[in-house]
Amino acid sequence: MTEKLSDIQSKLRLGEISCVSLVEFYLQNIEKNKHLNAFLEVFELEARNKAIEVDAKIKNNTAGRLAGLVLGIKDNLCYTGHKVSASSKILEGYEAVYTATAVQRLLDEDAIIIGRLNCDEFAMGASNENSAYGPVLNFQDNTRVPGGSSGGSAVAVQANMCHASLGSDTGGSIRQPASFCGLWGYKPSYGCISRHGLLAYASSFDQIGPLTKSIEDLNLIMDVLSGPDQFDATAFQTKIAFGELQSVLSPKRFAVIKECIENEGVDPEIKAHTMQAIAMLQEQGHTVEMVDFPLLDALVPAYYVLTTAEASSNLARYSGLLFGYRSPNAQDLNSTFVKSRSEGFGPEVKRRIMLGTFVLSSNHYDAYYTKAQKVRRLIQQKTEEIFATADFILLPTTSTPAFKLGEKANNPIAMYLADLFTVHANLAGNPAVSIPTGTHSNHMPYGLQLMAPMKKDKELLDIAAYLYHLKP
């Protein structure tokens, strides 16, 4: 099943297949691949009922743009009446009381939501090993991680357990697992999609985005998701329209960050692959320029100071008081807070809450938080400078293909460096896409990444499709 949604929709219209049969197909795959642990919950009955409904709409010609799309959503997106836990024990038993704007927009176009997908707890992680509900396994090689934090979202699509999925990307959480699982993964411009209903990790970094097997599907889903929202003040006031993918007719200017390509940690095959892509672009008449980005070493530290600061505040609401897990050992207000949080959060989340609390504390504020904010502004400036003379930045999505389960689990710093090439787009706010172009000699896939200036999301997807078809 590597068809595009438009192919599926043609068959649906011709009556060759039905939504009901599609749903059964995915449900069977879900059952078969249970051991991958991609789904936290399957909305079996509901998906079947919705399939009947959409089939009827197709017959009546009243079906929405996403009729026939069966997708899973990351377990940090609210869908009213359904559980949502961010893969954390602290939200044990919690049911969403409203629907995220992004999810609602999919439903309004007749997408079928088949279940909620495992992820790193509160989207904090790069391997999906931080879930309270166990790790997710890479379908290609079960001894390897799928990446994170949207690991379930990647594997569900990789193993045909759904056609596409939604993830969220704070520092690479969509693009890195997409790269590790051979998928398209997209982090839109900050503000392109409403965050209303996305359980916040780091508010000024988080964006929702899709993971798909084709650029056409990615483009269509983005067109449905983007647009202003009365519930998110940080969403753009004007919709970024995607429309149909457009051919690239004129020569483009690409920038390649020297420090990324020359980085010792980059796998030689991935480096060679990137160089190959550069050569092919040049052959086609595009210009590729090597640029300096001396702030590369500052990316990950600035990212962790700022995201943990925001997270320490965003996660304060999980206090055992109004919703979610409350410790049975709590005796008074203070012990409700302390015990519920101590028992409810996993170790990585606690580490980040403590780190964030530390960098915001008055004795350390200027040394860490203020400084990291300054670095972020410098990164934004420097990125703008690059885009003054380039249309896109090209770089690998990840420095290696998927690593082994447990390989970095005990070394948080090594794990944090897995985000090296992806955090840039979140720090600067720019859109970035991971394109599934590479296959390693160890058979694992990996991606190339393209970044564009703010709000140039449509241009980015057009050029991504172009680069993909060059087959580097």
Binding site: C78, Y94, V97, R195, L199, A233, T234, E310, L333
Partner: protein, 478 residues
């Protein structure tokens, strides 16, 4: 003995009476059943985000303009982080480095003329839920209706020197927010809350003493009482050689004292940082102009108008400008009856006493200025006497505002009789009936004039014009 002066700064929380909450569409109404005005956003459910309430920003701007403040262009929001049961998100959305208003002042009366108290800042924030620890035997209860209601916090410079001055400061602020119609200024219900920072120092000293914060003063009188108590307590302590500790104290209205709540040494670190969910709100010239146009005439301007243009006394003007409704009622009444002093006398006399008896506000007075001016007109034209107007017509008119004052006067037979012939007959009748008194009068006991006039009034059943009667009696006897 060493003399001390008090150094006092006030922090006033002003609840803005917008329709909806500061950062979501939930109603901000006071007094509804507990926990009925709470959506997922008010309760801080996962994934919810704040949105700007433009009205709240307009209200805060109004207050700033009325207090002569600088209005900040780029209004950033910040999170103030702390854990408490009535704070659903675990942080309060507030402003830190970019308060909406800075500078400005309040003028208060003091011993030697007016005194200006500088405003340090006014910032916008959201209220917490309301914790109630005394409603249930075992549990603390929380009403989250208040969670997210918009507030502004006004901070004064430490330029206040006494409980009396603090009283005037709070009173001026309350008057102003009511004029601006942005807060009902009800300290008992907590829509306006005041904390005071108090220290003392030897007179002449330029350095500050250790300050103590006093909370829970739920009336203007209690602000004064608490400060006076605290000044006395600190003075006595210093004279006794004790050290003042930096702490938060609570005012006990029952016995007028303050008691220690917590030491400032354990002060919380609120870890303020810019609120990433709310982009800064830009106040541009267009926004400012719009707010300026919506500003009502303020008490100070009205006071000047009433005294300088209309010739009212300072006292009358002061009382009439005490609240916006009274000033508006006066302005309209004056427009109808064209006589400022008469209009003022009516409002400050019979109307005020009726309102006091009923414990009502002038907005609830049953007669509008047009209706009242018809009655005043009758007095001014000498159709009825002032006494009859106040004691007979006014009560009936209040009970039945749809009646015309003249109908009531006619029905009660109190139209002033100015018919000279009839008046002369009554006067003669009275004088004939009391010849001894007439003789006494003519022998110099001029004080009896009142007796004769009174008797004529009785005879006329109050309908005679006393001034005229007076004249006729004198003509007959002198």
């Amino acid at each position: 003995m060493q003399e001390f002066e008090a150094v006092i700064g006030l922090e006033i929380h002003i609840q803005l009476k917008t329709q909806s909450k500061a950062f979501c569409a939930d109603s901000a109404l006071y007094g509804e059943s507990p926990n009925t005005l709470v959506s997922a956003i008010s309760l801080g459910h996962p994934g919810t985000l704040p949105m700007h309430n433009i009205s709240a920003i307009e209200y805060a701007t109004k207050l700033g303009l009325a207090l002569h403040c600088n209005i900040t262009q780029l209004n950033g929001y910040a999170r103030k982080n702390y854990f408490y049961a009535d704070l659903p998100k675990g942080y309060q959305i507030s402003q830190d480095k970019t308060p909406i208003c800075t500078g400005g002042f309040v003028e208060i009366p003091s011993n030697n003329g007016n005194k200006k108290i500088t405003i340090t800042r006014i910032h916008m924030e959201e209220d917490s839920g309301k914790s109630m620890h005394d409603q249930d035997l075992y549990d603390s209860l929380i009403d989250y209706n208040r969670a997210g209601v918009p507030l502004v916090e006004l901070v004064s410079e430490p330029e206040i020197r006494s409980g009396e001055e603090a009283y005037h400061f709070v009173s001026e602020i309350r008057k102003l927010v009511r004029y601006l119609d942005i807060c009902d200024g009800n300290m008992e219900e907590g829509s306006m809350r005041c904390d005071a920072n108090i220290s003392i120092r030897p007179v002449g000293s330029q350095t500050f003493g250790t300050k103590v914060e006093v909370k829970n003063m739920n009336s203007m009188t209690n602000v004064k009482r608490a400060i006076e108590f605290e000044i006395k307590r600190q003075t006595e302590a210093v004279l006794a050689g004790e050290k003042i500790v930096s702490e938060t104290r609570s005012f006990n209205a029952a016995n007028g004292s303050t008691i220690s709540m917590r030491s400032k040494e354990e002060a919380q670190d609120y870890r303020y940082f810019p609120e990433p969910d709310l982009p800064p709100f830009i106040i541009n010239q267009e926004f400012l102009d719009k707010v300026k146009i919506s500003l009502p005439e303020l008490p100070k301007a009205l006071f000047e108008k009433f005294t300088q243009q209309l010739g009212l006394s300072d006292y009358d003007a002061q009382v009439l400008t005490e609240d916006r409704d009274t000033a508006a009622y006066f302005t309209e009444l004056y427009a109808q009856c064209k006589h400022a002093k008469t209009a003022a006398n009516w409002i400050l006399g019979p109307i005020k006493s009726w309102l006091n008896e009923q414990a009502k506000d002038i907005s609830l007075f049953p007669l509008n200025p047009t209706q009242l001016s018809k009655l005043i007109q009758l007095v001014m034209e000498n159709t009825i006497s002032h006494t009859a107007a106040v004691s007979v017509v006014l009560p009936e008119l209040i009970a039945n505002p749809s009646l015309e004052p003249i109908e009531i006067a006619t029905k009660n037979n109190i139209l002033q009789n100015t018919n000279s012939e009839e008046l002369e007959n009554w006067v003669l009748k009275v004088l004939e009936s009391m010849p001894e008194k007439v003789a006494e009068y003519q022998n110099g006991k001029k004080g009896l004039l009142g007796l004769f006039v009174g008797e004529v009034m009785k005879l006329s059943k109050g309908s005679a014009d006393p001034k005229k009667v007076n004249e006729i009696v004198r003509n007959k006897l002198d």
